[in-house]
Symmetry: C2
Subunit: 242 residues, 2 copies
DNA sequence: AGGATTATTGTCAAGGTGACGATAATACGG
DNA sequence: CCGTATTATCGTCACCTTGACAATAATCCT
């Protein structure tokens, strides 16, 4: 049984998860509608308080599973940053450890109206102010998107948005959605296939889509083992935002 | 008066600071000798518990000032990551928000033997196991060094290790100390002076050292305003570790 | 079958990097 | 005072990567 040292100053500690995915060519974020105060009825990042005996990463994983109804949420989960504890919750000081999930577009279970349920929303709307997120969640989302954008430059994490196997075109679509830019398919193909320890040809090809069938790739073992490592070296350069 | 919401699970929250500097051509870290249990007598990162009414960044700043005896510690302070709360403190669950300070080599006040005082130690020794840091501080230090190394690749933060004004040679010495490599002085000079929004020539020159006097530079306004922004684009590439 | 669409392979010029020569300007030892 | 050691700065050159874009291949759709 985990003990809590007494006689030490103590704070409520929460975790929040910014779960990002690519849907219909644009970046989306998982949000829940709050059923209780504070911010009752407003949209917020999925999250909750850390319970005793778990590390913050485990708490983030647990909350994500609880609020999506998905037992083993796919994708890459990493810690983002810690916010607070001052002035971010009307109930008082609350520290929150934000996490970032980069995941393929998985279906969330839509619960009945009596349970808090999560759904995907375009990041552009969430940051546009039209959705009015609870707490400081808009700021956290903004940081998360920036982190995701810069991670794609040098790490193999774009693949976390795809399934186990994917085509170069799908991978490029991830970059275009996250960066909000267009990339030249030919130059992207050259960089993606030419980078050592990044992709592995499965030998199979995709089918059913429009156009010529594309070769299916998966992450190289090295890239899967260390998802944060800089394999794109020199990095893939992010073009002008327009 | 900041309130703490009741009826919420609660954790002791600490901050730790990995303060790095360059001394005698090698990377050093600020450590304190613990005067109380747990880990009494062992070396540890400066840090302490977050007190009510302050954000974690403020707490890190305050602890740093308290343990060094320096009122306004110079350099660049940023959040590193959050660790725990499970299994890192023998007293029980304690969450710690680690911070990273990149600073010029400032003198620490050496207090009497009855007060906890900080001093600089070579990172190589601290990570070599010879110093046996308290808690999970060796792991935190390892992460901090890796963060610092990668930040130098694309951000102007190397200048945080220097004073207000510095020569290209001093800046290069920072890179060599942090990365543990040698860099070609001519190519480094070309990259440093050729990168827009990075350095600003002060017009003055250094003197007194060996060799030809060097031009003194300072950080460009743009780089000082956003110390984390990627100005080195494409990044400065880190050579083989040996 | 013909057109549309996406994948892949190349070509080429421009820009950045790594390796290294050459010169400049100062401190120091004799 | 002079030659030497040391560090700063400027240049050169081959090589690599990128950005722009032509050309061909292999499917789907109508």
């Amino acid at each position: 049984m985990p003990s809590t040292p007494s006689r030490l100053p103590c704070l409520p500690v929460a975790v929040d998860v910014v779960a990002l995915t690519v849907r219909d060519g644009s970046l989306n974020v998982l949000l829940v509608t709050r059923l209780i105060d504070p911010f009752k009825g407003r949209l917020a990042l999925p999250g909750g308080f850390v319970t005793s005996g778990e590390d913050v990463g485990e708490a983030a994983s647990r909350e994500l599973a609880e609020e999506t109804g998905v037992e083993r949420v796919p994708g890459h989960l990493e810690q983002l940053a810690t916010y607070g504890p001052k002035g971010r919750d009307p109930r008082g000081d609350v520290l929150t450890v934000a996490h970032l999930l980069l995941a393929p577009d998985f279906p969330v279970l839509v619960a009945g109206s009596d349970a808090e349920h999560a759904d995907w929303f375009p990041v552009a709307e969430a940051l546009g102010g039209t959705l009015a997120l609870a707490f400081d969640h808009e700021r956290i989302l903004r940081d998360a998107v920036e982190r995701a954008r810069s991670k794609l430059e040098y790490s193999p994490l774009a693949a976390a948005f795809c399934g186990e196997e994917f085509t170069i075109g799908q991978l490029r679509a991830v970059y275009e959605a996250v960066w909000g830019t267009r990339l030249d398919p030919r130059n992207f193909h050259r960089k993606a296939t030419g980078t050592p320890d990044f992709l592995e040809d499965t030998g199979r090809v995709s089918s059913g889509d429009a156009g010529r069938p594309a070769a299916l790739f998966r992450l190289a073992d090295r890239a899967r083992a260390e998802p944060g490592r800089a394999v794109l070296n020199p990095p893939l350069m992010r073009p002008r935002p327009l």
